[in-house]
Symmetry: C2
């Protein structure tokens, strides 16, 4: 049983939880993966997450192969060969692709071999064509020696039978599928995709396909948040737009918690809605509300909760704030409950850029500044996009963002900033 | 009619085309987009490419709105307000979400307003709740003035009617869909996805699901290259494994060129196969072979050709070389023929890292060194993965790669390198 964290009040700036503390509270509450595993054909494994360690069932390569076009030789026959004192070898055979060579290479002889060809018995190195001169059909001259093992890849050099090819919790990239294909592994065990339930709230919110009456606002958050969740590998269930009435809202949140692995509701950045969001989570299983209000701009009014094992996020109504909260809290939560192994050493996509104007920031909160990038040769410049914080166009114009930490009150033109890319 | 470039010979290292020159030759030959456009529902537009400029059909927001919970005021009423000389305002109305407020704010009065609420007539600023003290139900005290326009977003501040919301050739990210949703745009014109034809060649290559006979090699490239192409937004048509016989190979390449937008064949890093690949391209429409052999390691034996408007790439048989050539040549080609606007200022995902050992490099070629990354606080270390160059496991273990340019013969421990991430 998880002990609930003490609740935080939401009174102006006081009581706001620092971003890193909110992340720690959230991530520490997320339980290890309880997702079911499923087996998919290798070619459908792209961007899925392995649910178990994968052990190499055989050696790769299964036998010694040449990595060059040339001649398979006994290295000792080439020692000391030079321009002034070349070595001469008899060409006694040829290796063909796809065949296992007959016979063997003995002292003073060699086989012609293509890149990828199976090494004939007896030979322990390959001399590149470029380093040989044909004397006649049956003899070559070489002017440079090779060491044993040169230009060959030995049985199991790539990966050895019984070695771990991939660990559990790995995102399958193209090259990971390639490694498995090379090992003859044609199906792969992956966690099932998680489902994310998305609820848009607010009596003023209307579907973006409808013409809003005066005062009504088109629903932007469902499409942006769904898209982000899909990019994180989740399936999305859209619970539509629900009114601010307690009955409808509570029951929709409860249904989503019941039916999906992670629930997001958005809208409700007004004071009344904030209470409604928190109260909805209080109706559910413990531990309930973990964090309410973080020292983040934009994104202050976020609510982070948990019902049993199901994370629930109340995202601000402003699309920019909502996407910012997604980046800082929802994305890491999706990754963890999807079974992705936390590998702190794996970096996010960033570039270093030169800040092109002074930026002020209030102490005590983490500021996220959206930027456009320009480039001179290999040097990036970050141009802050100022505009109103609620403006979705600022996010559409942005290439990425940088962060001003809580203890810094601003940055000067020319400072080097780390820009996280919106890919 | 495009004039063919002079062909390059492939004789050892001489005659190799430098990578940047090969890229220029390739990209300069690619014609502007001739793809058909299709209209998709907004929610299905994620990661597609816009085929036309999108103009805002209306103002966003459509009217002035508050960006804070507070009171809608006439800014002039608040000028000079301070702790010692507070201003007092009568609360004469309240704005509700989703409604257009009745009445108007006159001097000395204000309306209560939630975040996102429509500004009542007369008011030109919002005072945050936190900066007010209620005197009674009908009056507030404020101790700080606000300027006109404070805490509101005006009609069209986000984007103005008639302004370009998105230009043609843009990849649609979540926030771009959000901008369109905010403007009530529910369908979007995008280029159709391109199709990439993939052919694996070599009499020694067998499907990875089959048990290879001695000398045979499992097909790794089709799964890795298909996956990369899919990640670039392309549809893939797999033409299977074809033999090295001229008749079968030429006819399969010709069919793929006829049926798809870009053709990749792989295998054939042996000398015989190199000729076969080049000859297959020579059977097709001009301009034919553009580049054969580049000063890139791994990836030297790549063939780059064009039949009419269809790019054709002969990728090396080694999976590591094939993926490297994909990164340097195929990916930018896919992006261009998919209609993605070339925006030189948009960076690839990189991190700066400290090199953890000396690396030698031959002058005159571009070396791609795969690395694992580790992290101390905010500082990354790049650990080169040495292993044999043909080994797919080195690519599976890698977080990314850095480049050693043609004019540099090596890098010392401690050098700062720019690591391109394998995401």
């Amino acid at each position: 049983m998880i002990k609930p964290e003490p609740l935080r009040d939401m009174l102006g700036r006081e009581g706001l939880t620092p971003v890193s503390e909110a992340q720690t509270i959230l991530l520490d509450h997320l339980t290890p993966v309880v997702l079911a595993s499923e087996t998919v054909p290798l070619a459908e494994g792209l961007d899925r997450i392995t649910s178990e360690d994968i052990i190499a069932p055989e050696n790769l390569p299964p036998c010694d192969r040449s990595t060059m076009d040339g001649f398979a030789v006994i290295a000792a026959d080439t020692f000391g060969a030079s321009q002034s004192l070349p070595a001469y070898l008899n060409v006694v055979g040829e290796v063909f692709m796809g065949d296992e060579p007959d016979g063997k290479v003995s002292r003073g002889s060699c086989y012609k071999i293509p890149t990828g060809g199976v090494m004939p018995k007896g030979a322990d190195a390959v001399v590149m064509f470029e380093h040989t001169v044909p004397i006649d059909e049956k003899m070559i001259e070489l002017v440079k020696g090779v060491g044993s093992g040169s230009n060959i890849i030995r049985q199991g050099d790539d990966i050895r039978q019984g070695q771990r090819a991939l660990s559990a919790g790995r995102l399958l990239r193209p090259q990971d599928l390639g490694l498995l294909a090379g090992l003859g592994i044609s199906t792969v065990a992956v966690y099932r995709k998680i489902s994310v339930g998305i609820i848009s709230t607010g009596d003023e919110i209307v579907d973006y396909t409808k013409l809003p009456a005066p005062g009504e606002i088109r629903n932007i958050n469902t499409v942006t948040i769904s898209s982000q969740a899909k990019r994180c590998g989740a399936d999305v269930i859209d619970y539509g737009i629900v009114s601010d009435s307690e009955e409808e809202f509570y029951s929709t949140v409860a249904r989503a918690v019941n039916e999906t692995d992670l629930v997001l509701f958005s809208g409700g950045s007004s004071v009344g809605m904030r209470d409604l969001g928190e109260d909805a989570i209080k109706q559910l299983e413990l531990p309930g509300v973990l964090v309410h209000g973080v020292a983040l701009k934009p994104g202050k009014p976020v609510i982070i909760g948990l019902s049993g094992n199901t994370p629930i996020f109340g995202l601000p109504g402003h699309p920019v704030s909502a996407l910012n909260c997604f980046e800082f809290f929802v994305k890491p939560a999706i990754q963890i409950i999807s079974g992705l192994e936390r590998n702190e050493s794996f970096p996010e996509a960033t570039v270093s850029a030169r800040l092109m104007r002074n930026i002020n920031s209030a102490a005590g909160r983490l500021d996220v500044i959206r930027v456009q990038l320009s480039c001179d040769v290999d040097d990036y410049q970050a141009h802050p996009i100022l505009g109103k914080s609620g403006a979705i166009s600022t996010l559409s114009r942005a290439h990425g963002y940088f962060i001003i930490a809580e203890d810094i009150q601003g940055l000067e033109t020319g400072s080097l900033v780390k820009v996280y890319l919106y890919l």
